[in-house]
Symmetry: C2
Subunit: 159 residues, 2 copies
Amino acid sequence: MTAKAFQDYYPDDLSYCYGCGRLNEHGLQLKSTWDGDETVATFTPQPRHMAIPGYVYGGLIASLMDCHGTGTASAASYRLEGREMGTEPPLRFVTASLQVDYLRPTPLGVALEVRGVVEEITGRKVIVATTVSAGGETCARGRVVAVRMPENMVPPSQA
Amino acid sequence: MTAKAFQDYYPDDLSYCYGCGRLNEHGLQLKSTWDGDETVATFTPQPRHMAIPGYVYGGLIASLMDCHGTGTASAASYRLEGREMGTEPPLRFVTASLQVDYLRPTPLGVALEVRGVVEEITGRKVIVATTVSAGGETCARGRVVAVRMPENMVPPSQA
């Protein structure tokens, strides 16, 4: 049995994100799940996602961390409240800030593992430490500060 | 007359970056130029680049800052040396770290202006402060630490 990803619980109106929306046919469709107390996602970049021959462009790494971070923030908030994801009221997050340190070139053509660890979770803010690794080697480290989605961003059907 | 963009001077082998490579037909093809002592690029996201309805996804903002930052680092280094871009030996940069603060939701459907200011330029490292704005309003602020491309990343034909 494959665990349902965090993003699979997002309501349809919030599932068009280029990075992680399951309904964005042009997007990356990142899928994040729990792995014990950490979160994990796997993504294999396409040849087009090149920086220079053989390596992944930095914006993709940032995108993976961003969407994995907000997904982790949401999942961790449900878990903290002892609730199943997808139950009402929804706990939706957006990114307030993103920090990425590129430690080494990220090879293109292999599966990348994105990991998240909740560093801090306080009310409306969740801080998630993230890594992106290839073949067991950490290529980038990051930190996502996720905050609850402002009410004025919520689509009318989800308000 | 339209000024040639920084990225138009990149050698062919280094022009396939998803964010700014002029030869990546699937990519964003960002074009950065000088505007006095600042650098500027304009980019209009496509509908697919959505985070949620009406707003741009954060990974795109990060990508624009990243590529504008490394382009600015290269251009500023040539300028510091009093050389025209594209002259030998080449000055190529990659991103060591990227910080993005998302100040407000970035609207989708309008042209975004990416700006860069060199904060520090010392030998192999250039720090570029960046903003992304829409309709004159700053939506995100960032900082790119760019470093000279490691020799082992340089494609053989450009070594």
